[in-house]
């Protein structure tokens, strides 16, 4: 099955500065892919390349099977795009904007558009320029969902929105998602925004992909492990590569195992510490993200 989005060694430079560096990932069809990373990590640049708003300096990307650099009007008929940076035609009303957009999309669904407008409680005959930030974002979402796109790309859609509006938008999207086969790529620097939404996750940092895999696999793979030692031990040199943020204090060793497997982790602990008892706790996406981010920043242990 062709992935909805595929990036292969994607690179983009702004002058001498490399914003995206050899980035590779796939957004499987019918998945909701959370594209995560701190501000300035290269998320927006990547999305702009996918949308053919920027040309890559190297590598290539494909969206719905179309090379991104050839993405034209026909391809865009199947792609919804919402970005915090996008400028809507503010001198139009919502009805006028819908009337403008409808003929552009063969699959435009007037009733779905009306449903979404009602659900988001948007005024139809008021100029978009008078809308609040949240209303503008909802308008952009409506204009990107009403034609039932095969792929929805959201670039920091919830940035700066209050939680109520954010939840409204997410619920609205999920409602539509339940009705059809579509893929979503949503970028965010705030994990809590997408934690309950995504089934695939990619972490990007300083233009490089740190991890990209299904959320379930990620959460299964990552565990916070606390090892209680019978007696103080010296710090192993080096720490196993899969152990992130490993630190030792007296008789307690704490680390994040990025390759957690109950038996294998227990065996590894016993190899390093003679008499030890390990307890592994599941981690939230936020905790995994923080562990990965710190690992990238410090390049190893916190000890």
């Amino acid at each position: 099955m062709t992935p909805a989005v595929e990036a292969d060694r994607l690179t983009h430079r702004y002058g001498r500065q490399e914003a995206v560096s050899e980035l590779s990932f796939q957004v499987p069809e019918s998945s909701i892919y959370a594209f995560l990373g701190p501000n300035g990590a290269g998320k927006t640049t990547t999305i702009k390349i996918l949308m053919n708003l920027l040309r890559p300096s190297g590598g290539h990307a494909a969206v719905l099977g179309i090379p991104s650099s050839r993405l034209g009007p026909e391809g865009l008929q199947n792609i919804g795009y919402v970005s915090e940076n996008q400028k809507l035609p503010e001198s139009m009303t919502l009805d006028q904007l819908a009337a403008f957009c409808a003929p552009l999309y063969p699959k435009w669904d007037d009733s779905l558009c009306s449903t979404l407008v009602q659900r988001f409680d948007l005024p139809r005959r008021q100029k978009i320029s008078s809308f609040s930030r949240g209303m503008k974002m909802k308008t952009a979402v409506v204009m990107s969902l009403a034609y039932r796109p095969r792929l929805l790309i959201l670039d920091e859609p919830f940035s700066g929105l209050d939680p109520v509006v954010r939840d409204e938008i997410i619920e609205g999207m999920l409602e539509i998602a339940g009705r059809g086969e579509w893929s979503v790529l949503v970028s965010s620097h705030d994990l809590s925004e997408v934690e309950n939404l995504a089934d695939h996750v990619g972490f990007i940092r300083q233009g490089r992909m740190v991890v990209s895999e299904p959320l379930e696999s990620l959460q299964r793979r990552f565990r916070e492990v606390e090892v209680t030692l019978a007696q103080p031990c010296p710090q192993p040199q080096p720490w196993p590569a899969a152990w992130l943020r490993a630190r030792i204090s007296e008789r307690v060793v704490r680390f994040v195992d990025s390759e957690y497997d109950e038996a294998r982790t227990a065996e590894r602990v016993h190899q390093l510490f003679d008499d030890a008892e390990a307890v592994a706790s599941p981690m939230s996406l936020r905790e995994i993200f923080v562990a990965l981010a710190r690992e990238e920043r410090h390049g190893g242990t916190d000890a």
Partner: protein, 520 residues
């Protein structure tokens, strides 16, 4: 096309306030254009309507382009299934509507002036070219600027740049043997085509940075490269009808006439056309001069500075029937002379130096295009020109004749108007020329360039205004006279090489007797 219409409708919806203002200004402009000229001038001065109209047009163009911005990656249309060609087509449609409204307004004004469409349509269409240029350049600037204030600033910057560079590289001035109209046409087309290509490139690729670089390169390419071309540009359009004669410049004339040389015995090599050698009464020439004045080192120091002007115009002003087309002077040695201004060598008095130059111009012959007897109420029409004998009345031993003529100039047409003269062929005498020109119905504006004259209705008054606009003539002379249209026919061009060495400028005057050297 469907998509283009959709975007066009969207633009109308979004820009209706600006469009209402634009059409309101246009309506007011048109309405005042129909009024009496004096009142109109007063209103124009008070409200500066042409400027307001131009400003409004520029703002509408800026808003229209930036509505669907090409710059950056934030515009709504860029992520929607909109073909760039449709977007460009929509913008072209909007601009065409803009032009059409202005065009119709101009037509309305000119019709009200009493002109028929066949008189003004070609002229009006001709006036479209510079306006298309204005629009193209404005679209380019709007496309590479992020917002309206930046666009307006860029536009002003471009105007200043054009002003600063216009004398540096207007290559069309180097195309010999073409009319001014043709030069203007070549210049306009040279700017328009690269401009249109750049606009198309912008919309097709959204590579605005490249377009900006392309604009600058194209500008310099159009303006400078041909200017730096070391060889002569093609000599086209007009045959050279001149032949060489030699004139020796005589000593200074005591009556202070214009140009001669003392002691130097300077020589001029003149290539002149037969029409110049034997100029007809009232014949007309357009002349220019290019040359270089070399001065010695001590003089050079005293010449430097902005106040120094070298003006070779005096050489030719001494010849009757020659008129300078206007031009410029130079201020720093070595002094490249190209044209002449009103002053003559005053700043060079007592300066030694040498002068090399070249005079070039067009040559016209005249042919009879119509003649009527001079009787009250008789009228002579030729194209856009009309002559009318208002009255013929006896005043003592003489007859007073009041004549009026009107010439309508529409657009920038490569057309010479007939000269209206009162001629007595039996006596080979002509009362030629006019003493006054009064613009009675000038209509400026029309399309988007409010500064370009679209139509001018000229009333030419014959001399002798001391006789209340009439001519006092001998009745026997008048009995054999006719009111005549002499239609100028361009015969060719001429050039004159000048090389004068070792002169002192104090004595540069023209000996009227030396004129014989020019004409014999």
């Amino acid at each position: 096309m469907r998509q283009a219409l959709l975007i066009f409708k969207k633009d109308l919806r979004c820009l209706w306030p600006e469009l209402i203002v634009l059409y309101a200004v246009l309506t007011v402009h048109t309405a005042y254009a129909l009024r009496d000229s004096l009142e109109r001038e007063e209103i124009n001065q008070a409200l500066n309507l042409p400027f307001v109209f131009l400003l409004t047009v520029l703002i509408v163009i800026g808003r229209l382009v930036q509505q669907d911005s090409l710059l950056g990656t934030r515009a709504f249309w860029q992520t929607r299934p909109i073909h760039p060609g449709s977007l460009l087509m929509a913008k072209v449609l909007s601009l065409a509507c803009l032009l059409a409204a202005a065009f119709l307004s101009a037509c309305a004004v000119l019709l009200t002036f009493g002109l028929s469409p066949d008189q003004f349509l070609t002229g009006l269409l001709d006036a479209l070219l510079p306006q298309l240029n204005l629009i193209t350049v404005s679209v380019l600037l709007a496309a590479v600027t992020p917002n309206l204030p930046t666009y307006v600033a860029a536009w002003l910057g471009m105007q200043i740049a054009m002003l600063l560079t216009q004398d540096l590289g207007n290559f069309v001035a180097r195309i010999p043997r073409v009319t001014d109209y043709t030069r203007e046409f070549v210049w306009q087309v040279s700017v328009l085509f690269p401009g249109l290509l750049l606009v198309a490139h912008q919309y097709w690729t959204r590579r605005t940075r490249w377009t900006l670089a392309g604009s600058i390169i194209a500008f310099f390419g159009v303006v400078f490269t041909p200017s730096l071309w070391p060889w002569e540009l093609g000599e086209v359009f007009l045959p050279n009808v001149s032949r060489e004669v030699q004139a020796r410049l005589r000593g200074a004339a005591p009556d202070g006439a214009f140009l001669a040389l003392r002691e130097s015995g300077g020589e001029m090599l003149i290539r002149a056309a037969p029409e110049i050698l034997r100029p007809l009464p009232g014949s007309d020439f357009t002349v220019g001069m290019a040359g270089e004045l070399q001065v010695d080192a001590s003089t050079r120091a005293s010449l430097s500075g902005p106040s120094v002007r070298i003006d070779a115009g005096g050489i030719l002003d001494a010849l009757p029937g020659f008129h300078w087309a206007g031009g410029r002077s130079t201020t720093a040695p070595p002094l490249q002379m190209e044209t002449a201004g009103p002053a003559a060598f005053d700043d060079l008095v007592e300066k030694p130096g040498s002068l090399r130059g070249e005079i070039h111009g067009r040559v016209y012959g005249y042919r009879l295009a119509g003649a009527v007897r001079v009787e009250a109420g008789v009228r002579l029409d030729k194209g856009w020109a009309t002559a009318l004998v208002r009255s013929v009345s006896r005043e003592g031993p003489q007859v007073k004749v009041v004549l009026r003529s009107r010439q309508i100039q529409v657009g920038r047409q490569d057309r010479e108007f007939p000269r209206v003269v009162l001629a007595n062929s039996a006596r080979k005498e002509v009362v030629a020329g006019t003493s006054q020109t009064r613009s009675s119905s000038t209509y400026s504006g029309g399309l988007v360039s409010a500064f370009r004259r679209v139509a001018q209705d000229r009333v030419l008054l014959f001399p002798a205004e001391e006789n209340e606009g009439g001519l006092l003539l001998d009745d026997r002379w008048l009995a054999e006279a006719e009111l005549v249209f002499l239609e100028p026919v361009q015969k060719g061009w001429f050039e004159t090489k000048i090389h004068i060495s070792d002169f002192r400028t104090r004595d540069i005057t023209f000996d009227p007797k030396a004129r014989s050297a020019w004409v014999n």
